[in-house]
Symmetry: C2
Subunit: 327 residues, 2 copies
């Protein structure tokens, strides 16, 4: 039997030949990579240009991907399929016409907010969440039309629920965990998780330490136990991995992620003045070669072969097949 | 027998529902439309956004096209396939990475110059033609890689010859005529035409009056006679139509085409102070419904059925099949 697909639905590493080799060593068939945090349209295009150079240079290891079938093609040619996504809607600026443009350029996920209020919705760190804005509703409809998936990983509760409700197609929370396990602002309530599951959406579990119980000291058993409890809320077929791996990034990058150009002061986000940089990863997940640990951890908490295969990649692949085409 | 394909490899009309209906009435299977004269990258994207709205609104008449097979799909669904092109390299600004980006967004032809010196080559109105620049050579190589066709319609003689020589793939002159017939700066010498034909390139004949012998009074017989003589130089299989139809445009547009933002004064281009606007089209070609006149004219000067079919569209379709894919 062919081994199941292995997909990571969120990484933002300091990409390099070494990391692309590790993807192959870890048998990772597809990765959703963040290509914009606060970048405007033109800056995002520069980031795509950089990826185009990597696709040319490392065409034995990675390939640009647009559809679920590209994941299958990547596996047939022993490569990792790369999908683009934005953690903020800044690449579309104030222009709904850019939704189709960025989809044509390869974007497949876009968060409606990154922690703060955006033109579209409210981020999870704002005091008041006013839900989808007028433009937010229009943009979600346009994203539905072209096949750009709504990602609410960094959004507030009301905005997330309204996105699930308003979107004609299932949405994703590509990288977050359950708040019942670790009550971080970035993790999601039972109410959100249930609504997400019932609407056919997907949750990707994050290994970013600030989203973990016990942070960097979180055990694999605890993490997989949380996944098992979340499966009871949503169904195992709605679950996947979105590691939030930020490998080899200097701490200046986490500052850019948090601060962008929206403040002149430092904002520590999920960190603090005494813990300002990237936190150390848990011992059982350091890079793309460690997915086998998670797979073993899922089996250890009682997931069946097919449930484990689903969470490790098959569920995302089905979601890609359904979510990325135009309507 | 299926009728041969009918393709116009250059139009810049004031697009409207009416014109799209005329394309269908004229059984035009594909049109290469100019979407940038002097626009920078972001402005070009705005023009693509406008086209995306037309593709949505008039999806019973037109469709976005990227390959020769899209022309076949357009015919099967009774629509006109639309290919994007630039008359100037301004959309790629000073950034070679934008070549692949604009190709991904659908651009299939790019002129290296529009009358003036560009970053890449020399236009046909400059006093001295210094040929391809350093960046010009790099960009042609990149255009060859991604499948963006080099178009030298508005370039100087030396630049055109160097583009033919340097390009690893056949180039096009999408809209110009033979200088032996009408010695306009925009028309091409026997030397260029021979080199173009020998390299597998294509010439599209223009009905823009300034490129015609007798201008607006040019007869169909004279025009088709010129095509017959050009076939002796290049071979009939290297010839097509690039009408340069600028239907329904106000004269402010011809001023933008000529002046862009490169001068504060008026430049009359091929016109003059007393003849500043768009010239009237010849009586036998006013819009997309008049291609049958040209077809009849070609037969009248002695072209065979298959030669006529080639010039009216089959030659361009073959060129699209070979030219638009990546390498």
């Amino acid at each position: 039997m062919t081994r199941p697909y292995r997909i990571d639905c969120l990484q933002y590493a300091n990409w390099s030949h070494e990391i692309f080799r590790q993807m192959r060593a870890g048998a990772v068939d597809a990765v959703h990579v963040t290509i914009a945090y606060h970048e405007n349209f033109r800056e995002t295009v520069l980031n795509i240009e950089q990826w185009n150079r990597w696709f040319e240079t490392y065409d034995d290891l990675i390939m640009m991907a647009r559809t679920g079938d590209d994941v299958r093609r990547a596996r047939e040619t022993n490569r990792t399929a790369i999908f683009f996504g934005f953690q903020n809607p800044s690449p579309i600026e104030d222009d709904i016409g850019l939704v189709e443009i960025v989809h044509t350029l390869g974007a497949r996920f876009m968060q409606l907010t990154y922690n703060n209020q955006s033109l579209l919705a409210t981020g999870c760190y704002e005091a008041d969440d006013t839900g989808l804005t007028r433009m937010g509703r229009e943009v979600v409809t346009e994203m539905n039309r072209v096949g750009l998936v709504v990602d609410m990983s960094h959004s507030g509760e009301r905005s997330t629920l309204e996105a699930i409700e308003h979107s004609a197609r299932p949405i994703a929370i590509t990288h977050a965990n359950a708040a019942f396990w670790q009550p971080a602002l970035r993790n999601k309530s039972d109410h959100v998780l249930r609504a997400l599951g019932e609407s056919g959406g997907m949750l990707g579990f994050s290994m970013y330490p600030h989203h973990l119980k016990g942070k960097s000291d979180c055990t694999l058993e605890s993490f997989c136990g949380m996944i098992a409890k979340t499966a009871e809320l949503m169904g195992a077929e709605r679950l996947g991995i979105g590691s939030d791996l930020c490998q080899d990034q200097p701490d200046s990058v986490v500052e850019w992620m948090r601060v962008g150009r929206w403040t002149k002061r430092i904002d520590y986000g999920e960190g603090s003045a005494s813990d300002a940089g990237f936190p150390p990863m848990p011992s059982w997940f350091n890079d793309n070669r460690d997915f086998a640990n998670i797979e073993a951890g899922l089996r250890a908490v009682g997931f069946s072969d097919s449930e484990t295969a689903g969470i490790m990649g098959e569920n995302w692949l089905r979601f890609f097949d359904e979510g990325f085409g135009g309507r």
